[in-house]
Point group: D2
Chain length 302, copies 4
């Protein structure tokens, strides 16, 4: 396994730094693009890693996976009354579909869907961000996971489009709490700093039918885990979901911080990270590393 990661590292080195670091908020634009890390966590909890795998980065949209876990815990399958499970076919931050489909977002991994999930969690918890952080600390076994307040504030300042989506859903009756408060929590969640090792550990339950080897407990049921992976496979990489399935063939979730988590069901979870993004907003070297991985292990879910 270590050889595999070393090989991948060697292979993608020329790509690291290609593409562009997310620049829509000043704080994210400051990151050095010449970094790359990869970590794998198998179903026994063994971690293998290479490159900058212990460097913390902003997990951004990868937080949507954990937020959905919270929603599963508090709502079960009734959560699907307020958000769909279909691919969106439109940019991750589009309002068009929301308007045509009465404020019900297509899936929980586009922004509108994640916002509605945040709103749901808000209705049940007093400190939803703390709850999410604590969940992540337990799942990753790292009690020091923290949110980068500067990033969160920078995102809040540039909240206009997310605010627009939230208010539009509110206009359709599908957003119940105060928009600004939910956005605060949402951005705090996005701004969590974690390393590849942290994230590989924290998502290992997805490769293990919902069972977390670190906490020795079920995070989701087997059925829920299959559903989560199915959603990650069809909708986890924004507009690149189809081509990611096509080229990589694993359930996965990316974030504009340059991280991507992926799952080989029954075997292991993976986290790659490299800050520079391709045109679709996903880590350029990260996608290449995952392509290389499935080529090497001669395995994809398909």
């Amino acid at each position: 396994m270590q050889d595999l990661l070393n090989d991948i590292l060697e292979e993608v080195k020329p790509l690291v730094g290609q593409g562009n670091v997310a620049s829509y908020i000043p704080e994210l634009a400051k990151v050095n693009p010449n970094q790359f890390g990869i970590a794998i966590c198998d179903t026994q909890g063994n971690v293998t890693k290479a490159g900058d795998a212990t460097t913390g980065f902003s997990i951004q949209s990868i937080s949507k996976v954990f937020n959905l876990v919270l929603a599963y815990i508090y709502y079960g399958n009734s959560l699907w009354e307020r958000v769909g499970c279909e691919p969106s076919g439109l940019p991750f931050n589009s309002l068009v579909q929301l308007e045509y489909e009465n404020g019900i977002p297509r899936n929980p991994f586009i922004n509108a869907g994640a916002l509605v999930v945040s709103d749901m969690v808000h209705s049940r918890l007093i400190s939803p961000h703390v709850a999410l952080r604590d969940l992540i600390r337990k799942l990753s076994g790292n009690p020091y996971v923290l949110s980068d307040v500067d990033v969160a504030e920078s995102e809040f300042e540039y909240r206009a489009r997310n605010a627009a989506m939230s208010y539009l859903m509110k206009a359709f009756g599908n957003f119940h709490n105060d928009v600004e408060e939910v956005l605060h929590t949402y951005f705090m969640n996005c701004a969590l700093r974690m390393s590849c090792v942290d994230l590989a550990r924290a998502t290992q339950f997805l490769a293990n039918r919902g069972f977390c080897t670190i906490t020795k407990s079920d995070v989701l049921t087997g059925d829920q885990t299959r559903q989560m992976n199915a959603l990650l496979a069809t909708s986890g990489l924004y507009d690149e979901a189809g081509s990611f399935a096509f080229k990589v063939g694993l359930p996965g979730k990316s974030g504009v911080g340059g991280g991507i988590i992926a799952v080989v069901p029954g075997r292991f979870s993976i986290c790659v990270w490299s800050p520079a993004l391709n045109k679709m907003g996903n880590s350029l070297a990260g996608v290449a590393a995952l392509e290389s991985l499935t080529r090497h292990i001669k395995w994809s879910v398909y």
Copy 2:
């Protein structure tokens, strides 16, 4: 395996006949809804079956799978210059996305995409329908597979929307042959009559890394097969692709004739058939049977 199919048959019996038979063309509307068949073909070519598994039905959009095989054979990966590999997020026969995306259909399993694939095949073959029929005859081992000319003519008569899509793509330069001719071929392909057993056999190569045990030859390469399955997983069931991934978790393709093929990679291919459709246009009892199947075998790709 036989027990499994018998159990599934028993389980879905109450659902058979629920929903509505496709009525947009008179010929299809004549089918008796109270039929149900299922067949499985493993990677050694062994077939297990239950119910009306040897009754022929109109394969309709399932023909798109075989047509894409032809395009792979004649164009290789260059085929993706004229059609995408992303989920569409819109109804299967929508023209909106075509107009916004310059006549490039989202994927080869929505109608516009299948029409462009037909147009491509037309540019290379003198008798594209005969070529497709012969391919299917070989893959299924059934030399008597034939198209139902009454169905094809009925579809041609009601061709308006498919003609509109073809002409719109022509306006964008992404349709090269005569629209009426391509539509004739397209409808002849859709009107092919096959049974569950035929289709399970003919798609067995998808479960077998592209190798067909009947012809003892490679239909697609291993990579192409993974790609095909990925596409089937993200885009094979129209608007229900996401929820099918969610509930069933297998690559699959449905047709308005009530057939659905699905793939358990490395193990077997499946074909279910029952003519009455749910609101999304997929066989109601068929989807239920596949859900039951993955529950029984405790396995999905995710």
Copy 3:
């Protein structure tokens, strides 16, 4: 003229109360639907009236006309850099076009356009609502025109869709001030209470090449007045703009409070009011009264 108004009053009486009072905010829903007023103000400033022409009502979107006057005064033709002058072809509160056209609203009479105009006025004035109210008091010669704070607050509470539009424009850089503050002003403007007589007087300058006979001064230049009337003719009645041009043939602006102002260039301004609305959101009896008017005077701009 008095006979004309009496005839119209008689003619539309059976229609008064038909349709539905605007119910999207509780305050507006309380109005008695069985009211109808009409007033005409000629270019000498003479007013003729019939029915409930001195009863105050919520002017709602008619305020957009006066707000645009403020924008003309402070920005001149540079105002058109931030808002278009084309019909929208979509519902008045749609976000779809905004997203496709980079946050530039189609015209100043749909909500998004009026919000951008409010934002512009906000950038130049400390008390934009007071400025608007004072302008209206002068133009109408009624120093007691006031805003109904209950209505404004009720609208603010249900601000979600307008907030969504404002934030979406902010995301595109076409909204400069604080969203909540601009919305406060916007709703205070909408909640101004005026009678038919007040509004006929206050819009008389539109029939008089921009000259207000009450203040004896130019409100707009002749060219600006022609432009304003052209805009009112193509975009003043929401989705009914075309059919209003078709049936009535006068520049006009409606509000969900049931008021409609219209202009016979060179001759007079008109205000009709009746609270119950047709399906397009315009006063049912009001539209009928204006149809009757142009039929009686055998004159439209076309």
Copy 4:
């Protein structure tokens, strides 16, 4: 009046040839862009002209006005059951709105609307093109008006988008005749060659409450004429309808051949022509000439 036209000619001279001649069909691209003509026909039938006012050109979409006259004659107001009277807010050849609005075009001056009107006329007449040509010959007093068959054939060859729209409407049940046949007629109508003088005469009835001074007979009723002019004012210049109302303020209809007809109700009809088009597809010098005209006569409908 002659002085006026001479002044306008002088004023727009520097603009003649600016912009681009329509190039979507080869035949139209051959026209010399350095031509400009203008003609006015008053309600007594007196014609004043300047520049290349007697040179024939392809009237293209201006034919939609006459085709709508035929529909009025054969269907009366029931024609509005199959086509709307609202501005479209989308490009003249868009299919998006058709799909969202069930195949009912927004108005008779966008392509889809004109195609439906052609289809209607086809249902009533054996030789619809001959009928249109004869109508135009009578109205213009020029018995030699003919269609340019080369242009019509060239347009038919590039018919894809118009065919797409026709088939889409057929799919919604709003197109009854054979698509290819209706397109033949449609393109023959578009390819009619007329001069500014011909067109000013042929549209003079629009300035004269429907009465044609040449044939001494009513073409449309007064009400129908008002409706036609209202439609021309809100929808006659494609995407530039609003800004044309804004700048020129007259009902008008443009064609990609570079012609524009406009109406000063009660006074006269105008036809300007110059082949080079602005970005919106309307004659650049033609629009400027009409702006100059309304500035000189200090009059618009608003």
